[in-house]
Amino acid sequence: MVLLTMIVRVADSLPLAASMQEDEQSGRDLQRYQSQAKQLCRKLNEQSPARCTLEAGAMAFHYVIEKGVCYLALCEAGFPKKLAFAYLEDLEGEFSEQYGAKVPSVSRPYSFIEFDTYIQKTKKSYIDSRARRNLGHVNSELHDVQRIMVANIEEVLQRGEALSALDSKASNLSSLSKKYRSDAKYLNTRSTYAKVAIGAVIFITLIVYVRFWWL
């Protein structure tokens, strides 16, 4: 089963098109996966692997990044990976042909929401067990599917968090060291002042001594 499909511009994670969830039973917890999908899209950038599968409990996210556009599908974990990627490739082909040129210029979210119609149709043909004739060309095209990277969604989402934690620690450290530096400076100046003051007192005493006792 493909439960959720999203097409997102990688540069700023602007959603371009999506397919609504179909199943009323899974409607409740789909909300959670949907927000995970959104967070995931925010994490993606040019350095992300172009093809990846992310395990999320009983579900799995599969995505393909092509020409700055990410095609993401949420499937049940048992759903054949080959099929999922074939499905995403199929979407990629059609989408980049229809809208590819317009992708960089749009600013409104879901500008190509009408692509939903195609998504729904394609989805139907891929999940329909009777239409396994697709399988033939899937096999031939995606023999390298085994090499697709697999990761865990929590890890991916937390990696960002860990990084940001590190970042905040580092900035803490830097602000602490700054504080230390300024404190040290302050102390230095104070001790300098103290030395000068002592010197001055001695000098004045000396002068007074000389003035009154020697003359």
Binding site: A18, E22, D23, E24, R108, Y110, D116
Partner: protein, 858 residues
């Protein structure tokens, strides 16, 4: 253009990066972290209470209202009304241009002029009076929200609740937020600028402290101006934030970013739920409906994603498989109505574009499919449950066509009306629902973004009080066609056709929410209209249509003494039929006053009457009809008593009202004679309930026409004072009072009640009029059931039609039209609208005034 995606994510103000409830989408109320602004003292509002105030010494220092030299005027155009003869509201540009000319103080003095109601016979202005102009500086007035969209009962907001209590007038707003607009600035930007603390959208009434900071006009928090806002896309200049369209217009629409979406924008989905029992087939509505839908199939709002589906029902529920590729529609019957299920999931709601031919086939075949049915039962409840299941994955609009009392399955109803009690003067029973089935279903629907509209076409009692709940709580609309029959009742058939035409093609917004914010110190406590209140102040509207109005009641919780302006902002977040998420924002600004006389001067009597009507309907359901009627009378009595107590130097005799409120008793009397609220006159329960639904959900203009229709004499219209628009001459006959006294046998009179128009033709009406306008030789040859004016090529006819079409110009639903002969049996329906006349069970206007005077002296 690729940047800025991240900066927009800060605009939700919710803690989680992804909002997961609608509450956080539109933004909550005041955040807890925000400290109260320093400018507002912690002064407690004086205690509430409804004691009659004694005259406060301060009021005596007011200049005394100038005494009226001639209390009684003859003719249609008494000199006292001169300042009112402003242009018509439809010429809004003209009126706004002229609005600045009249001196404000003069205007106020005029609205405060005491009027002795008992002596002033001709109290109606010659033209429908425009709403009062708020007393604001010209700059603010120019940008203020149109009164057609946003109106307040008091255009001068009292400073404290104590002052409001003294005036004894209700404080509230009337809104028509999704009205069809010809001009609407649409703004696309990455950051929608809103106050960080109260989430108000930036608007023309905020103040810019300097280039980089603005002060919210609702909570007074100082906010930063984002960089993007410094650039003005209209003039393409930089550094002029106060010239941005958001700050130049009080009605704007924003294209929302993905932060304002919980899920991808839904497609337009339409499901039609059709009654096909014997009764329905007999009435012949199916033919009219199918034909109308066929004609308008291309005009249904939507894009290539639009989905459509049909369900019919009698004692069973029938589904139609319209899957692309089938040679003809396939009917699937589910007879298990106790546990109704969806026979197949993906081919009942189909893409309209792809299955258009099948849809057309079905619509052509439907009227013939059930002609010989013997099924008299109706399983509306199970059909609605099926519709809910079918629609829940996406949301959308369900249109229900029902012709009788539902008799089978969940939600079945019994007849509760006793025909003998239709004209009882005692209490009217069964105004509330008999079962909570429909309300519960509506709430479920609302949760899944499904709006349910109900068309009731029935000749017998169908318990609209219960059925209407399904639309009330799912933000739908209710239509009612009593005694509909395609042959026997042509006027009703025409009305149904016209209404469908509008209904099918009008704009629609999906998965909408609306929030109304107001200046700190004011608080909204009651909402009226069709919606579900999701949290304290968030209205959930599964569907929003351009023809529904809303009302809210407000109280003043904290003194407004520190501010001179009060502002109100309504924000409506919706998904258009093209899958765009948009936010429509209206902002209204009104002055705050400290004197009771100023509160009276700013009273908007039409808005007050509408709000009172809404309150009375609520009261009649929660308490009783007689209670509600008493409350309405008391509203007038209290208000006039308060006015008398305020002006100490007014002569004690007579019934004195300020000019701004001189129509108050008349409008309240008209309300008491409405089908919704009248007693003693025979009224069918369904018609009464429908009238209540209308009062609760129609916009102000429509309610006012319904409550107090416009009467014109049209057989002797001249070109004097006529309007000249686009080469056509539109005569402007004066408004007449609603009394038979104004009718003469020699004339023809047009009565415009909003949803219905009557042309009453007197026995001695001049034959040229009958020949040139109605196309008949003389009065005797006029048929008794004419429902339109023929298009004749005479000046007389052209002038009359020009006038009528000018009246209909800004209306969305065209009224039914009846030509009423003086001797016809239908004339009672015409005469019931003459509210100033006495009936067996109700006061005449003069008697009503005496009644009020008597109540006041108690």
């Amino acid at each position: 253009t690729l940047t800025g995606g991240d900066s927009s994510s800060t605009t939700t103000g919710s803690a989680s990066p992804v909002p997961n409830s609608y509450e956080s989408l539109e933004g909550g109320g005041y955040s807890d972290l925000a400290a109260p602004p320093a400018g507002v003292p912690a002064k407690q509002a004086p205690p509430f209470g409804y004691n009659y105030p004694t005259v406060h010494p301060a009021y005596q220092q007011n200049p005394a209202p100038k005494p009226d030299p001639s209390p009684s005027h003859g003719g249609y155009n008494p000199p006292g009304y001169q300042p009112y003869s402003q242009p018509f509201p439809s010429l809004s540009e003209l009126s706004s241009a002229l609005g600045g000319l009249g001196g404000v103080s003069e205007q106020e003095a005029e609205t405060l002029r005491p009027v002795n109601l008992l002596q002033e016979r001709n109290i109606l202005p010659p033209k429908r009076a425009p709403p009062p102009e708020p007393n604001l500086s010209n700059d603010l007035r120019k940008v203020n929200c149109s009164p057609d969209t946003f109106r307040c009962t008091l255009t001068n907001i009292p400073q404290t609740q104590a002052l409001l209590n003294k005036a004894r007038l209700p404080l509230g707003l009337l809104l028509h937020p999704f009205r069809d607009l010809t001009q609407l600035p649409v703004i696309t930007s990455n950051t929608i600028v809103r106050c960080r603390s109260c989430r108000t959208y930036i608007n023309p009434f905020v103040s810019f402290l300097d280039q980089r900071r603005w002060k919210c006009n609702l909570c007074y928090r100082v906010n930063d101006v984002p960089d993007e806002f410094m650039y003005n896309p209209v003039t393409r200049s930089y550094g002029e934030p106060h010239k941005r369209p958001e700050v130049q217009n009080s009605t704007v629409e924003f294209i929302a970013s993905s932060d304002y979406m919980l899920r991808p924008p839904q497609p337009a989905v339409y499901l039609f739920l059709l009654d096909v029992s014997h009764n329905a087939v007999e009435s012949g509505y199916l033919n009219v409906f199918c034909q109308s839908l066929l004609d308008n199939l291309e005009k249904l709002p939507g894009d290539t994603r639009t989905h459509i589906g049909f369900v019919t029902f009698d004692s069973t529920v029938h589904f139609y498989n319209l899957q692309e590729g089938l040679s003809q529609p396939q009917m699937l019957v589910v007879s298990d109505i106790d546990d109704v299920f969806i026979p197949t999931h993906d081919s009942l709601l189909v893409n309209l574009k792809e299955s258009k031919e099948l849809v057309k086939d079905l619509l052509n075949a439907l009227p013939g499919m059930f002609t010989h049915t013997r099924e008299t039962q109706s399983a509306l409840g199970p059909a609605l449950q099926a519709a809910y299941k079918l629609m829940s994955p996406t949301g959308g609009r369900v249109s229900v066509f029902q012709t009788q009392l539902p008799t089978l399955g969940a939600g079945h109803l019994q007849s509760r009306e006793d025909p003998n009690l239709r004209s009882s003067t005692k209490n009217v029973l069964h105004l509330g629902p008999a079962t909570d089935f429909y309300k519960k279903l509506a709430l479920d629907c609302s949760g899944q973004q499904i709006g349910v509209d109900l068309f009731l076409l029935s000749s017998q009692y169908s318990d609209l009080a219960s059925l209407a709940c399904v639309s009330k709580y799912s933000a739908g609309s209710v239509f009612y066609y009593p005694s509909f029959h395609h042959v026997h009742n042509p006027a009703q058939t025409q009305k149904f056709q016209k209404d469908l035409q509008r209904y099918l093609t009008r704009k629609i917004g999906f998965e909408a929410v609306m929030r109304i914010r107001c200046t700190k110190g004011l608080s909204i406590h009651t909402f009226h209209g069709n919606f579900f209140v999701r949290s304290t102040d968030l209205l959930s509207l599964a569907n929003v249509n351009p023809d529904s109005g809303f009302a809210v009641q407000m109280s003043i919780e904290e003194s407004l003494a520190d501010t001179s302006l009060a502002c109100f902002q309504a924000a409506l977040l919706y998904t258009s039929s093209k899958g765009k998420r948009r936010i429509r924002v209206h902002t209204l600004c009104l002055p705050v006053v400290s004197q009771l006389s100023e509160v009276f001067a700013g009273a908007d009597i039409q808005a007050i009457s509408c709000l009172l009507a809404n309150m009375a309907i609520d009261r009649s359901i929660s308490s009783s009809l007689s209670d509600a009627r008493d409350a309405l009378v008391n509203a007038v009595v209290d208000c006039l008593t308060a006015y008398r107590a305020n002006g100490s130097n007014i002569q004690p005799s007579g019934l004195i009202a300020p000019a701004a409120l001189r129509l108050f008793p008349l409008y309240v009397l008209a309300l008491l004679k409405q089908k919704a609220l009248r007693t003693g006159t025979s009224t069918r329960l369904d018609e009464r309930v429908f009238s209540m639904c209308e009062l609760k959900s129609q916009p102000l203009q429509q309610i006012m026409r319904m409550v107090h229709p416009d009467l014109y004499r049209i057989d002797n219209m001249t070109e004097q004072a006529a309007l000249h628009l686009n080469d056509s001459v539109i005569p402007q006959p004066p408004l007449l009072q609603l009394t038979a006294e104004k009718l003469t046998r020699e004339g023809a009179f047009l009565l415009d009640c909003g949803s219905v128009m009557y042309l009453w033709v007197g026995k001695g009406c001049n034959e040229t009029f009958i020949r040139d306008v109605l196309g008949f030789q003389n009065y005797a040859s006029l048929p008794s059931n004419m429902t339109e004016i023929p298009e004749l090529q005479t000046t007389y006819s052209e002038r009359t039609r020009a006038f009528i079409s000018w009246l209909l110009e800004s209306r969305t639903f065209l009224p039914a039209f009846h030509v009423v002969k003086d001797d016809a049996s239908t004339k009672t329906s015409f005469f019931q609208h003459l509210v100033e006349d006495r009936t067996e069970s109700a006061f005449s206007y003069y008697e009503f005034l005496l009644h009020i005077q008597q109540q006041m002296s108690k």
